[in-house]
């Protein structure tokens, strides 16, 4: 497994999450269904193999461990990411977050506000609940990748 391959596998998963799972999540009636969808979401992202989980990829500030890999296509000015988390609910939430920012230009990523974006999708309750889960720490790490 290489970073290229992970990036290639992550992209279609994120498009599917954005196009199919997000609408489904917003229509879920009870909390049980919401959490089932969140966990399925996380499962769609290819896991980072254990061997590739270098300590430098670890995102600090999470109750559960999470890892982030990054690739910047300079010619096209696009940021691409691969992430993983050992907790499934958190991974689902991170997958949604990634589906919003993957492929963004440097300027777009700098401007991006997670709270605002989650609010527009009616996902804000998840963000405030997950303060300790490391969602904000992951977002900060993603933003650190800006040039």
């Amino acid at each position: 497994m290489t970073l290229d391959q992970l990036l290639t596998d992550t992209k279609p998963a994120l498009s599917q999450i954005y196009a199919e799972d997000l609408p489904e999540l917003s229509q879920a009636r009870d909390w049980q269904s919401k959490y089932r969808i969140l966990m399925q979401l996380g499962r769609k992202l290819p896991p980072i193999p254990e061997k590739m989980k270098q300590p430098s990829l670890l995102v600090k500030g999470c109750e559960s461990r999470a890892w982030l890999m990054h690739y910047y296509n300079q010619h096209q000015d696009q940021h691409f990411f691969v992430l993983d988390s050992e907790a499934r609910i958190v991974k689902g939430l991170m997958a949604i977050m990634l589906s919003l920012v993957n492929g963004m230009s440097n300027a777009e990523l700098k401007k991006f506000e997670l709270a605002h974006a989650f609010d527009k999708l009616n996902l804000k309750p998840y963000l405030s609940q997950s303060r300790g889960s490391g969602l904000n720490a992951m977002m900060a790490r993603i933003k650190d990748c800006c040039r």
């Binding site: 959490y35 109750e63 559960s64 499934r88 958190v90």
Partner: protein
Amino acid sequence: MQPFDPVNFRGQFQFFQHNPGWVYLDNAATMHKPDVVVNAITSFYQRNNSNVHRGAHTLSQNATRAFEQARDDIATFINAGARQQIIFCSGATAALNQIAFGLMHTVLQPGDRVLITALEHHANIVPWQLHCSRFGVTLDVVPLDTEHKVDQQAFAELLALKPKVVSFSHISNVLGHIQPVAHMISQAKATGALTVIDGAQGIVHDKIDVQALDADFYVWSGHKLYGPTGIGVLYGKTAALELLTPIFAGGEMISEVNFSHSLFNILPFRLEAGTPDIAGAIGLAAACNWLQKINSEQVKNYKAMLLKQFFAGLKKIGGLDILSSPVHNAGIVALNVQGEHPADVAELLNQQAVAVRGGQHCAMPFFSQLGLAGAVRFSFAPYNTEADVATSLQALTQAAEILTA
């Protein structure tokens, strides 16, 4: 002595009236406060507020009297031999930092050893690491046996290396296991070591008699004993307290200051620099006085009954890894849903208004030894009910179903 009545007992905590939908099983993190504690704090600020030990005025003398009465009450509560053996501090963490820092140079010299166990809270690991490494003192750690209890044979073997200080918890904050403290203290003392007991979880479970325990230090936090946050107690035998170099210096702790040197005040003031948490001490004393009046054996039996019901219910839920033993347990159960991360389980319980802690509980070394990401911790208190036990079991069943579907 009043008999323990669970309904009446719970009724004294307004928190539950304000949060009727919640099952609170995070008592090892902090406990709720009965009206008697809240009222004592409010009343102090409303009627008696003044600084202590300084003012020439009557108001300050009244505040001083109330504050020093709190010290007396707490000394009585743990049966300390003398009032100056009660040092007020911000909590068990502050107390352990004071002890670890304070023994360097006076007791611990380069090349000496300190012994802790693999079951300690970070507060009983990191202060020792910090100060031992700077003073060239070696820190040894007693490993655990297969039941996650302190390996008593290894303890005896490491004691043979003649540590000058032995520091361990009365009750594990992760698993709830009650250590054989009395035995461990007497073994450590036999080798001439100073003994330090982290009583953060121990103080609430049992009636503590520090003279009978015979440890040199016994430390605890007020907020884990129905008291306010920000106040705690460093109990020490007078001779042991005299060995401590103060970690904080400032007002109150000196008897004479000039620019070339200062003379330290006597105990307890020598170890209480600055304005103390006066209202906190009074609130904590109110908690102790209130507890003194309730039959502690009945409280213990009630909690044991809840724990028994909880363990019985867990047996009916498949696919759990239960880390805590029901034997010698102070009311804490750490477990995992097999193959699932504790953060996920805790979040699904939170969705069902069951408050637990999920993670490593400030005991990372313990979990790394087991190769676990952590555990979900249910911790019970006497204000919990049989309905709480049933609801939490149901919620856990539901969480496991969602995760493993």
